[in-house]
Symmetry: C2
Subunit: 294 residues, 2 copies
């Protein structure tokens, strides 16, 4: 036991689970890889029950409670997954002594930091408890978006222009640690993602479209990028069947996500829906001109 | 008549009117200054009737129609005012020969330009007809926001931090010609204004707040800035009583607008509402540290 934190065999994996399908996918991927994960549902956030997996529930601000779960279950690796919609109030934080030193900066970040800064603080707290935080992509590398089209439809030249425009805006958003997504229609960025999230942003686009405030003739594109400074162990952008559904309602031509730094959930179901609806889904390489599409 | 376009005495002022209260304020200000304006209501955009003023209606894409109105009424100065919610389809454009040369670039801008680029194109089209486009602030300089608090409430230190954060985000948005407004709460930017406009963005913040996704304890600030590259003759950011109403619903502490480059409509009514609701309204000088607030 030279370094307990580095050795999967010496300890168990915990999956801290917020909302959405990512946690259950990771749980299955971990089991397939021979690792039996403990699911830690976040109270008021996780919607799923994780039947068939050992599951406990904890409040997001209860650091002492997490520490005790880690200890009881011999956890040495932790992965953060799923959406967290509500930030806890700092008054709800229950620290333990290992987290005391980080408390002042944690409170500051909780109150005024962007999501990225806050997740970074959460990673620091967990690692101070003696666990290693690993990325979802390390547990389930098959979920990472690849470069190129996933389905049968390809972006047109107009769509590629929208991809470029929306990617430019999403990069600025990410630099400011505000959000990960942008929608460009006809070469013009019409919506930027803030706290509301991708689905709500797409809903807004659908409403603007229905009101005639966005051209009915130009389709447009959703782009989601990882923030430039983002730790890949925290909150990778993700897309899934509901993203396709909402993109179709918003009248978009397709969806582009950053290859290698975004997660594709329920790929078969999502691609089938996209193929059927006539929209493209592609991974773009932000290090390549035109995202590596051409 | 050495230069007809420069001399108010040699021709009449037309106010092209979209939605909202700005056009009627400008009409009154022009009349007070001894200039009897012709009101040109934009079909499907202008909500007001402009009773007591000579008024015609035109479709936004009908360049030939505008040219004929300008000629018939001896118009030599034009001011653009009010909100335009729907971009016309380029197929609806009715050019005249004076506008033919600008047509290809106009169509391109209409399809994929930001608002600023499109307004710039509109100004070019109007000036090619022999009229001078003047800014709303030239007709009614009293509407320009001044530096400092307008009402009895002042931003706190926390509010000033939010002003700084939101102004930083709004500057980036403006550089990308996407929008003019941002909301920061507790030092964290939670919403950015796209095509939907300020009122819709504030509504979104109110919903996020009601859902518990934004801290109930931190109030936050709306900031509206002129885009850095923006022609002041086009679409200055503006606030009015409805902005205060929506800011109050969103639970904000106050509103900051760029002094000298934003318009304050119905100031008395707005300030009374803000004083009553306990929120601040202030003009900030983007060339000064802390916006000139401290």
């Amino acid at each position: 036991m030279a370094d307990q934190r580095q050795s999967p065999a010496a300890g168990r994996l915990a999956i801290i689970a917020g909302d959405g399908f990512l946690p259950i996918y990771l749980a299955q991927a971990a089991r397939d890889a021979g690792d039996e994960p403990l699911m830690i549902r976040l109270r008021n956030e996780a919607a799923q029950a994780f039947e068939g997996f050992e599951t406990v529930t904890a409040s997001i601000a209860d650091i002492a409670g997490f520490a005790s779960i880690f200890r009881q279950h011999g956890i040495n690796r932790v992965v953060l997954s799923g959406a967290v919609k509500r930030r806890p109030d700092w008054r709800d934080i229950r620290p333990n002594w290992k987290a005391l030193r980080q408390l002042p900066s944690l409170v500051g970040t909780l109150i005024s930091g962007g999501d990225d800064a806050l997740l970074q603080a959460a990673i620091g707290i967990i690692e101070a408890q003696g666990c290693t935080v690993v990325g979802a992509h390390e547990i389930a590398p098959a979920l990472l978006a690849r470069v190129g089209a996933l389905g049968i439809h390809q972006p047109s030249d107009d769509d590629q222009r929208d991809v470029t425009k929306a990617a430019e805006a999403a990069t600025k958003l990410g630099e400011l640690d505000i959000g990960q997504g942008a929608v460009s229609i006809g070469g013009r960025v019409v919506a930027l993602e803030g706290v509301e999230g991708t689905d709500q942003m797409l809903h807004r686009v659908a409403v603007l479209r229905a009101e005639g405030r966005i051209s009915a003739r130009r389709k447009g594109v959703l782009v989601k990028l990882c923030k430039p400074q983002q730790d890949m162990r925290a909150d990778l952008p993700s897309i899934g069947p509901s993203t396709v559904e909402n993109a179709v309602r918003a009248g978009l031509a397709g969806i582009a996500v950053e290859a290698g730094r975004s997660l594709v959930l329920e790929e078969d179901k999502m691609v089938a829906a996209a193929n059927e609806a006539g929209i493209f889904i592609c991974g773009i390489d932000m290090g390549l001109p035109d995202g590596g599409l051409s």
